[in-house]
């Protein structure tokens, strides 16, 4: 089963000049290979009380409803052998419908939405399912190059059930014309791998008459890791 580590790397390189911020942050030295299994031990185990009811609905925390296109985002967290990763923390964050983060570092001249923080968390269930209710985020400009705009995306942080499974990624939307010009998305060398970061429109995942539905499955490393429940 060690041959899993011999597959072509699906991840981007550290050094990717088109994404300017990599310039002084990408390591230059060769990486050291740790003995096999070093990062496979289970953990950290996040206590169930870590997530409160409602943390997976980003639309209910204001005095009224947020602006934008309401959506349900659901999917499964799996390992490379297709087994569900259970009881695992999923954290998301995103811009509001006008493309503005509720973050002091975001200087984009688009309005904040007092009814939208853009932060959610949940646990996967026994079959690896997670589900969020949110708003479709807007695209926004950034300073990477002239006329640079990030495609609409939602950030995901996954702890998995072992350090080898730790993943931070971004989910994109089907048919977004900005994907062709986005160095972050394009930094993933393999086209098929890039497309695994795009969610799928799935109407019946939504709420009839209320919210569109999108499906996004996430596959983490390490078929050998035991998916541990809590």
């Amino acid at each position: 089963m060690n041959d899993l580590s011999q597959r072509p790397d699906v991840d981007p390189p550290y050094d990717y000049p088109e994404y300017g911020s990599t310039r002084h942050r990408a390591p230059r030295e060769e990486l050291l290979k740790l003995p096999a299994g070093t990062l496979d031990a289970a953990g950290p185990l996040v206590p169930r009380g870590f997530v409160r009811d409602g943390d997976n609905d980003l639309t209910i925390h204001g005095k009224s409803k947020p602006l934008g296109e309401k959506m349900v985002l659901a999917g499964r967290l799996l390992d490379e052998s297709g087994r569900p990763i259970r009881d695992s923390l999923v954290e998301i964050w995103q811009a509001n419908a006008s493309g503005r983060y509720d973050h002091p570092g975001d200087t984009h001249d688009a309005p904040l939405d007092p009814n939208f923080k853009g932060i959610g968390r949940t646990f996967t269930d026994d079959d690896g399912w997670y589900r969020f209710v949110t708003i479709r985020p807007g695209a926004y400009p950034w300073a990477n190059h002239a006329f640079a705009w990030r495609p609409q995306h939602i950030h995901f942080s996954l702890l998995g059930n072992a350090p080898v499974q730790r993943l931070i990624t971004q989910m994109y939307f089907p048919g977004d014309p900005l994907l062709d010009f986005d160095p972050v998305y394009q930094s993933v060398p393999d086209e098929a791998a890039r497309k695994r970061m795009i969610c799928m429109l799935q109407l019946d995942t939504g709420i009839e008459g209320v919210a569109l539905g999108y499906r996004f499955d996430i596959v983490l490393a390490g078929a050998r890791s035991t998916p541990l429940g809590i």
Binding site: V10, A26, L32, Y101, I119
Partner: protein, 170 residues
């Protein structure tokens, strides 16, 4: 099935990934309190003020940490670097012959995490750790050893260039 690729955490993660007392590592076991003070610099020698650092370690008795029913996961820290590149983790000395924390760094400009390790142990113990065998003769091993000074361990992380920290492939 094929893995989902990594993408940068970007600059806007702070509130979403901020955990209450994320810098204070929870343990069911008692043990010696230790403080790790880190500082992160980029290849131009500038502080990295917008990174997230996660550490994972053994319990003081050398076992995999057992989590409680509430609070933060045991054995795990998550902290943001401050504007000056520093971060501070309050934990307990991990058990084992060469006590260490496994470290993951994510930040704007990192398209995938950097993995490294910081030893809270004398150099001789680190050189004897079988995991460090490839570095046994290398001066770069020093980049993984925190310096005990005053009431804290101090560790400088250099992402690139002179004195670059040793990073691991997953």
């Amino acid at each position: 099935m094929d893995r989902t690729p990594s993408q940068t955490v970007g600059p806007f993660f702070h509130e979403a990934l901020r955990w209450r007392d994320g810098h204070r590592v929870a343990f069911a076991e008692s043990g010696a309190d230790v403080v790790l003070v880190g500082r992160m610099l980029d290849g131009a020698g500038q502080p990295v003020g917008d990174a997230l650092v996660e550490t994972w370690q053994r319990s003081p008795t050398g076992e995999p940490p057992a989590s409680g029913k509430s609070g933060n996961p045991s054995g795990f820290a998550r902290v943001e670097t401050r504007k000056d590149g520093t971060f501070r983790i309050e934990t307990r000395m991990p058990g084992g012959p060469a006590p260490h924390l496994d470290v993951t760094i994510v930040a704007r400009g990192l398209l995938k995490p950097l993995r490294t390790r910081v030893y809270l142990a004398p150099e001789a113990a680190v050189r004897a750790d079988p995991a460090m065998k490839p570095l046994a003769e290398s001066p770069r091993l020093q980049t993984l050893i925190a310096r005990a000074e005053g009431d804290a361990y101090h560790w400088e992380v250099r992402l690139q260039g002179d004195g670059e920290t040793v990073f691991f492939s997953a």
